[in-house]
């Protein structure tokens, strides 16, 4: 199949390209960008007038809820949500049931995802068996099965001896370890430490839960030489530590969720369980520091932190409600909103959800590493076409995700979003089309 995308504004954040151009796809590859495409015989022409033609988004954190949590989300619904969000590659987390600690589970997940051909799926394997923080997983076999790194998700390894050995072992084989910096004991709360939690009488997570864990992890990075990706940074103090670590030359990268980038604990309002998130929403100064750090590249990537949660798991008192929100379909619009607020050009805004997360994944992507998250001739045709000017408001029913909970629902924020995905192509095939 030969496809031509005509008259679009082609933006490739990695090269800085931002121009009106045609883009030609043959099979699963981009074969030409620019006016040389004019004499190309296409079987399918997509008119992209008024649209931005960007690389498909790369989301470093999305829970698909399979295996084992199908009442909250299924591959079909969640990968459809990814396609609707312009996300063509995503990293899924190992805290499924059973935990992704066996190569067979990873192979099955990859196989099922490939069959749906909506989005490329890159699982993180569990760093320790059953995420229990005791026994290392078979990282080599898990990597061969398709894992792109190893994570504990929201379960910190409390035994520092095990943690050090896990990092040493991962470092031996050049694997990246993905950890959310959170002290196991200080992290036991449901809202960020501060005036809101105190006023509402909610158990709280102090900033020190993040910074103490970061100090420990950075020291272990120095000792072991492991490559570390810090997941879901939440505080200004954490940002400052990350900045120091990068200045020191440590091999660390980091991401922030759309939630922490746009919301604060004040948004909890009268115990709104849609704001029950992990990590908890912090204060305005933290949000501002996260926004600035994402703008200057201290934080490498913006993630949806997609986590579909069933209705009955949210309709509970705040502390009992399950943390999480659906986010895949909002990632682009929330990135654009942040970029507009910061006064960034589109190339830089889009970099944080395309080529920069690919850089975090690095060699783990194999042959895709050179072209995923980019628009290059000869590269994979993972493409997102979006209308940058359309305003829309989020209503839970319209989400493709099985989880209908989002803190960005118009009913609770009164906030309109600008920019909406029209067409998504994965490997040259249309995964979503709503022009």
């Amino acid at each position: 199949m030969r496809t031509m995308i005509r008259n679009g504004r082609v933006i490739d954040p990695a090269s800085g390209r931002d121009q009106m151009a045609d883009l030609v796809i043959a099979g699963d590859r981009i074969v030409a960008i620019g006016d040389k495409a004019a004499d190309f015989e296409a079987e399918r022409v997509i008119d992209a007038r008024g649209l931005v033609v960007a690389p498909g988004l790369v989301d470093l954190a999305a829970r698909l809820r399979e295996p084992g949590q199908e009442h909250e989300g299924m591959l079909e619904s969640e990968l459809q949500a990814a396609a609707a969000g312009g996300v063509t590659s995503l990293v899924c987390l190992p805290d499924t049931d059973p935990v992704l600690d066996e190569p067979g589970l990873v192979e099955m997940l990859k196989f099922r995802a490939r069959k749906l051909s909506r989005c490329r799926v890159f699982p993180l394997g569990a760093l320790t068996r059953r995420l229990e923080g005791q026994v290392l997983t078979e990282m080599i076999e898990l990597t061969e099965a398709g894992c792109v790194g190893f994570s504990q998700v929201d379960v910190p390894v409390t035994n520092t001896l095990v943690l050090m050995r896990a990092l040493q072992y991962a470092a031996t084989h050049g694997y990246t370890v993905w950890l959310r910096p959170q002290d196991a004991w200080l992290g036991q709360g449901v809202a960020a430490g501060g005036a809101v939690a105190t006023r509402l009488g909610l158990t709280s997570v102090p900033v020190a839960a993040e910074t103490i864990a970061m100090h420990t992890l950075f020291e272990l990075v120095r000792i072991t030489g492991v490559r570390l990706h810090l997941c879901r940074l939440s505080s200004a103090a954490g940002v400052a530590l990350l900045r120091q670590a990068k200045a020191e030359g440590l091999a660390v990268s980091a991401d922030v969720s759309v939630n922490s980038l746009h919301l604060t604990d004040v948004d909890i309002g009268y115990f709104n369980a849609d704001m029950r998130l992990t990590p908890p929403l912090r204060q305005g100064a933290d949000r501002d520091a996260l926004r600035a750090a994402l703008a200057d590249g201290t934080i490498d990537a913006l993630v949806s932190d997609h986590n579909p949660v069933a209705e009955d798991m949210k309709n509970l008192p705040f502390a009992e409600a399950e943390p999480g929100a659906s986010g895949l379909e909002l990632l682009l619009a929330l990135a654009l909103r942040w970029g507009a607020d910061q006064g960034l050009p589109l190339t830089r805004t889009l970099a944080r959800v395309t080529c920069d997360p690919v850089r975090v994944l690095g060699d783990a992507l194999g042959s895709l590493a050179s072209s995923a998250g980019r628009l290059v001739e000869g590269g994979v045709a993972d493409i997102c076409l979006f209308d940058p000017d359309v305003d829309w408001s989020v209503t839970p029913e319209q989400l493709c995700s099985q989880g209908k909970h989002t803190p960005f629902a118009f009913a609770s924020t009164g906030m309109a979003l600008r920019g909406r995905v029209r067409t998504t192509l994965v490997a040259g095939t249309i995964a979503f089309d709503q022009r």
Binding site: G193, G194, T198, L200, G269, P317, F318, A319, T413, M415
Partner: protein
């Protein structure tokens, strides 16, 4: 973010639920206290009943056990002529796995008019108020660490009864503030009613510094905290918090923060001593103080009935 109306108030600013004292207009508080004083005399009559809630069904939903609080609500509702149904949910549906909202839906189908809710989780009464039928009123009888607004109101009533004017007072709240819904409700009530000097007194493990943002002076030294105070509100220290990572022992707490006659002498000579009960003698308060002439702990209980009658009759009279 969208500005949301306080869920306790209807579009006319009238109280339809009592979930928290926070954010209530001063006039609403004052009106409840005024109404309560008219009910006080009912309690002294031979026939202790008024017909304000006749034909109405009040469901006491206690997801957390508290015989005392439940009893005061029951008495208050009965004196208003309501039919009272007590449900000890801690022992029934919740243990069978029924969700909170399913329980509420079922009880609503039995034509409840008012739910009095005690729950171990902060915010549970808000959730119920949000999901119950529009004609149903919700009274928070204590949720987690968040709020215990009727206790807060009866404390305000007690202070007004003995001190008349709020705007010249120094009030010290002493003890386990971080876990106390009573402390939070008192602090909101005091600041809405114009108390210029509110002090939160206790060790750093029990008195978080964020309280300053609620307009409170944080004191970790007992002498400094109660010096010159006109009102001292002692809080109950829960058994499970007496020894562990928050405090080493009950006796050490008593030594530093227990209210003894010696420490009470630092307060204003006509200071009153309050306690939401039940008291731990020799832990947060010395017996001679609890039973002494400055103690108003028993009047608090009496006023509590009248205040709860005032709350129930007020919200029942306002439509969503």
């Amino acid at each position: 973010m969208l500005h949301r109306r306080n869920p306790q108030l209807n579009a006319n600013g009238e109280l339809i639920h009592l979930l928290s004292i926070e954010g209530l207009p001063q006039a609403v508080l004052t009106q409840i206290l005024d109404t309560a004083s008219t009910f006080l005399s009912v309690n002294d009559r031979e026939v202790k009943k008024v017909p304000l809630l006749r034909g109405k069904s009040v469901f006491n939903l206690f997801f957390e056990n508290s015989t005392r609080t439940r009893t005061t609500f029951e008495i208050a509702a009965k004196r208003l002529s309501a039919d009272v149904i007590n449900l000890d949910i801690a022992k029934s549906s919740a243990s069978k796995g029924e969700s909170l909202l399913d329980t509420i839906a079922n009880l609503s189908a039995m034509h409840a008019d008012m739910f009095v809710v005690r729950h171990s989780e902060s915010g549970a009464p808000h959730l119920i108020a949000q999901h119950c039928a529009p004609h149903v009123h919700v009274v928070n009888a204590g949720d987690g660490r968040h709020a215990h607004p009727t206790q807060g109101l009866l404390d305000m009533y007690t202070i007004r009864h003995f001190k008349r004017d709020f705007t010249q007072l120094s009030v010290a709240v002493v003890g386990d503030i971080v876990h106390s819904r009573v402390a939070r409700s008192d602090i909101h009530g005091l600041s809405i009613l114009g108390v210029p000097d509110i002090r939160a007194v206790g060790p750093k493990t029990l008195v978080p510094s964020d309280l300053r943002e609620m307009g409170v002076r944080v004191c970790h030294d007992m002498a400094e905290g109660i010096r010159g105070a006109d009102v001292i509100i002692m809080l109950r220290l829960q058994n499970e918090r007496m020894s562990g990572a928050l405090l080493p022992s009950a006796s050490e707490f008593y030594k530093s923060y227990g209210l003894t006659p010696h420490k009470l002498a630092l307060a204003s000579p006509d200071a009153i001593v309050m306690h939401p009960g039940p008291i731990n003698r020799g832990v947060e308060i010395d017996s001679t103080v609890a039973d002494g002439r400055q103690s108003v702990i028993l009047p608090q209980v009496t006023f509590g009935i009248a205040v709860r009658m005032a709350v129930m009759s007020t919200i029942a009279g306002n439509a969503a």
